[in-house]
């Protein structure tokens, strides 16, 4: 195959969907990048980056590099941007940046680096319009082993095998870093629910649930103590806060009798019931 000029990338796009696809995706990608910079909410910035990433992935696919495109979607939009959103979730969306420079001269260094990077880009692109010819086209490389993924696999597992194996070391470093930053070592063994339960039965006089308040709902029943089966009043059934506030309600024996009468199937016909408001055990 004759060497094609470096503008083979737009030409491949032409072969697939015309320059139309390239221009649409390029404009969306740049718009996403600009939106990331100007949006005031961090989550909106993250979503703009997702937009950029996806349109770049479409460009990769249109340039006959489907594996790169898919990995771009899976790793960058799927995993990396998810991590970014996780960080926002943990830090809090409304956390504000400090406007004080902590690194001295950071602004000038950033400006210098930006200029250097722009110069590098301009030189590279203008060289591309010039005389440098690529060693082969991606179509030829794809066809050599029957497909894009197969060709990539052949390169990864033969020529770049050392880099491939070193990547696993990189992954180990990443895991160690994540563990170092976020993990707190446990020095005592984890207490299971079973052990906590056994401990509670050993320690407390009242291992089970406390009796529920309000056996008859004549009032806001939480402030009314429960009656135990033998008829005595269970003061521990009233929440401590109510007792401290002094708003535990006394049990009205007449009400209890009324409820019992009704529950045993008799009609309750006592219109002027006697008020036996007694204070129990206070």
């Amino acid at each position: 195959m004759t060497p094609t000029p470096i503008s083979a990338a737009p030409e491949a796009a032409v072969a697939m969907g015309g320059p139309f696809l390239f221009w649409v995706c390029a404009i969306i990608a740049v718009a996403g990048a600009v939106g990331m910079l100007v949006s005031r909410k961090a989550v909106h910035s993250a979503l703009f980056v997702v937009m950029t990433m996806i349109s770049i992935a479409v460009l990769y696919i249109s340039l006959n590099a489907p594996f790169l495109g898919m990995v771009q979607v899976i790793v960058y939009t799927g995993a990396i941007m998810m991590l970014f959103v996780f960080v926002m979730m943990i830090v809090g969306v409304d956390a504000s940046d400090s406007l004080v420079e902590t690194l001295k001269g950071q602004r000038w260094l950033a400006l210098g680096t930006a200029f250097a990077f722009a110069a590098l880009l301009i030189i590279a692109i203008s060289n591309g319009f010039g005389s440098i010819a690529p060693t082969g086209s991606i179509e030829a490389a794809n066809a050599q082993y029957g497909g894009n993924v197969q060709g990539l696999a052949h390169l990864i597992f033969t020529r770049y095998v050392v880099a491939f194996e070193v990547t696993s070391a990189l992954l180990i470093v990443a895991a160690l870093g994540a563990m170092m930053l976020t993990f707190r070592e446990r020095f005592a063994p984890k207490v299971s629910q079973e052990e906590m339960s056994i401990e509670r039965f050993k320690r407390d006089k009242h291992p089970g649930n406390l009796p529920g308040a309000g056996t008859y709902a004549r009032h806001n029943a939480v402030d009314t103590p429960a009656l135990l089966p033998d008829g005595s009043v269970a003061h521990e059934s009233v929440p401590n806060a109510l007792i401290d506030r002094g708003s535990e309600r006394a049990v009205n024996r007449a009400d209890v009798d009324e409820v019992r009468t009704i529950s045993e199937g008799f009609d309750y016909v006592d219109g002027d019931s006697v008020q036996l408001d007694e204070e129990e055990g206070q």
Partner: protein, 120 residues
Amino acid sequence: MGAEYIPVLLLGALAFAFAVFSVTLATLTGPKRYNRAKRDAYECGIDPTPQPMGGGHFSIKYYLTAMLFIIFDIEIVFLYPWAVSFGLMGVFALVEVILFIVTVFCVYLFVWRRGGLEWD
């Protein structure tokens, strides 16, 4: 080439249309009563168990989970081309991949033994 991506495009368009439709419908029809409970991490139920130390909404422990996900995600990315062209490559690639998996498996063992997978 290109025609095989039409279903993907259609699926994407469908997903986008559904998202726009749902959000629009919810904005038009749903009640809008904002209060403090709406700003909680979870609208109902108890607070998440590992409480964040600095007062954020979520514990930093979630970050470890996300990070471990990315590590094993990248492992899968490398396994995919190998699996697709397994017949092409022979024993050498198999040994390489086994070495790779064993090395990344050390990460798993380390995290597991240190208790990074436990939740409390």
